[in-house]
C-alpha cells in the first residue's frame, strides 16, 4: 500500500472552465455578473429593470439559467438585451461549461455587459464559479431576516448584495438590523443596495454603480492593452 498526496481542489475542473470563460470575456472586453438568489427574490425583475435603464448606454447580453422554460429570456429580451436561455433540465445551479456554451451563442464583440441569471437556489450556485467578474446576491424582504444565518456559504461568497422588495417592509416582519448584522459577520464591508423593483425606489443607485463598474473595467482593459 502506498499513500499518494493529492491536495487538489474538488472543483478544479469547473474552476478551469471558469478561468477560460473569464479569459474569453476579457478578450472581448465584456464585464459579467453572476446573479444568484432564492426562487422569487426578483432576479429576473432586477435584470429587467437594469436592462431597461442601461439599454441606451450599454450593449447588454443576458444568460438565463432556468429549469425548463424560456419565460425569463423573453422578458429580458423584451427589455432590450440579447438573451440566451440555458435550460438546466432540473439541475439546481449553473456550471462553468453551461456558461461557456451560452457565451458561444452571444455576440460578445458587440456587448459591454453580460448578466448571468443563475438558477433560483441559495445553496448550490455558490459552489460553482462561472468566470464572471462579480457575484451578486439578490435577497428580498419577504424571505425573512434570518437568511444570512441559514445560508452562510452563499452570503460569505458574494461580492455585492441587493435587498429587493423594500416596499414590503411595513407589511412583513423583517428586522433590517439583524439581517445586516449577519451579512456583516459573513462578509465585512459588502457592497449593498436596498431597493424595490416594483416601485423603482433605490434602482438608480444600483444602476449608476453598475455602470461605473463597467466603465472602470473597460478603462483597466484599455490600459492593460496599451
Amino acid at each position: 500500500m502506498t499513500r499518494i498526496p493529492v491536495v487538489e481542489n474538488i472543483m478544479s475542473a469547473n474552476d478551469q472552465i471558469a478561468a477560460e470563460n473569464r479569459a474569453r470575456l476579457d478578450a472581448a472586453g465584456v464585464y459579467a455578473l453572476n446573479v444568484m438568489a432564492s426562487p422569487g427574490a426578483g432576479k429576473t425583475a432586477l435584470i429587467e429593470e437594469t436592462v431597461k435603464r442601461l439599454a441606451g448606454r450599454l450593449r447588454l447580453g443576458v444568460i438565463e439559467g432556468d429549469l425548463a422554460t424560456s419565460l425569463d429570456a423573453e422578458r429580458t429580451e423584451a427589455a432590450g438585451a440579447v438573451s440566451v436561455q440555458i435550460n438546466t433540465g432540473g439541475n439546481c445551479h449553473l456550471e462553468g461549461w453551461m456558461v461557456r456554451d451560452a457565451l458561444a451563442r452571444l455576440p460578445l464583440a458587440d456587448l459591454d455587459l453580460v448578466i448571468v441569471e443563475n438558477v433560483g437556489n441559495l445553496v448550490c450556485p455558490s459552489g460553482w464559479a462561472l468566470g464572471t467578474h462579480r457575484r451578486v446576491l439578490v435577497a428580498s424582504v419577504p424571505e425573512g431576516d434570518d437568511k444570512p444565518y441559514k445560508y452562510p456559504t452563499m452570503y460569505h461568497g458574494v461580492d455585492t448584495l441587493v435587498i429587493n422588495k423594500i416596499d414590503l417592509l411595513p407589511y412583513v416582519t423583517f428586522d433590517m438590523e439583524r439581517f445586516r448584522r449577519g451579512v456583516e459577520t459573513l462578509n465585512p464591508g459588502l457592497t449593498t443596495f436596498a431597493l424595490s423593483c416594483r416601485t423603482g425606489d433605490g434602482l438608480d443607485a444600483w444602476v449608476t454603480w453598475l455602470a461605473e463598474q463597467v466603465a472602470v473595467y473597460r478603462a483597466e482593459r484599455a490600459e492593460a492593452a496599451r
Binding site: 502506498t2 491536495v7 474538488i10
Partner: protein, 116 residues
C-alpha cells in the same frame, strides 16, 4: 442535488493521480470538507458506489474529514464553531462583531493505492 457532479470530479481527480503513479487499484480516499461547502457525505457515498464501478477506484473507501466553520470574536478574541451560537453572537462575551475564519476547505487530500 449537486453531489453527482462533485462525486464525478472526485473520481476524475483520484484516477488521474493514481494512473500517474502507476497504481493498479485505489483503496482509500481522504477528503477534507469544510462546513461552508454544502455537501452531504451519504449522498457522495451513494453516487460513489455507482460511478466508481468498473474503474480502478471501485470499492475504495471514502474518508470525510469535516472542518467546522470557525468563527472568531473581534471583541474578545474567542474562537468558536459557527453552529454553536445563535445569530453568530460570541458565546463568551455576547459581541456580534465576529468573523468567519475557516470552513471553506474542499479538496482531495490523499489516496492509498496498490501498485500491482
Amino acid at each position: 442535488m449537486h453531489e453527482l457532479p462533485v462525486t464525478q470530479s472526485i473520481l476524475n481527480i483520484v484516477v488521474r493521480h493514481a494512473e500517474q503513479a502507476g497504481a493498479a487499484r485505489i483503496t482509500d480516499i481522504r477528503l477534507v470538507i469544510g462546513q461552508l461547502s454544502s455537501i452531504v457525505d451519504d449522498s457522495v457515498q451513494f453516487y460513489w458506489d455507482m460511478i466508481a464501478a468498473g474503474t480502478i477506484a471501485e470499492g475504495a473507501r471514502l474518508h470525510f474529514q469535516r472542518v467546522p466553520a470557525q468563527m472568531q470574536c473581534q471583541a474578545c478574541g474567542a474562537a468558536f464553531a459557527l453552529a454553536a451560537s445563535a445569530d453568530f453572537a460570541c458565546p463568551q462575551c455576547g459581541s456580534s462583531d465576529v468573523r468567519v475564519t475557516g470552513g471553506e476547505e474542499f479538496y482531495v487530500e490523499s489516496i492509498d493505492v496498490e501498485t500491482a
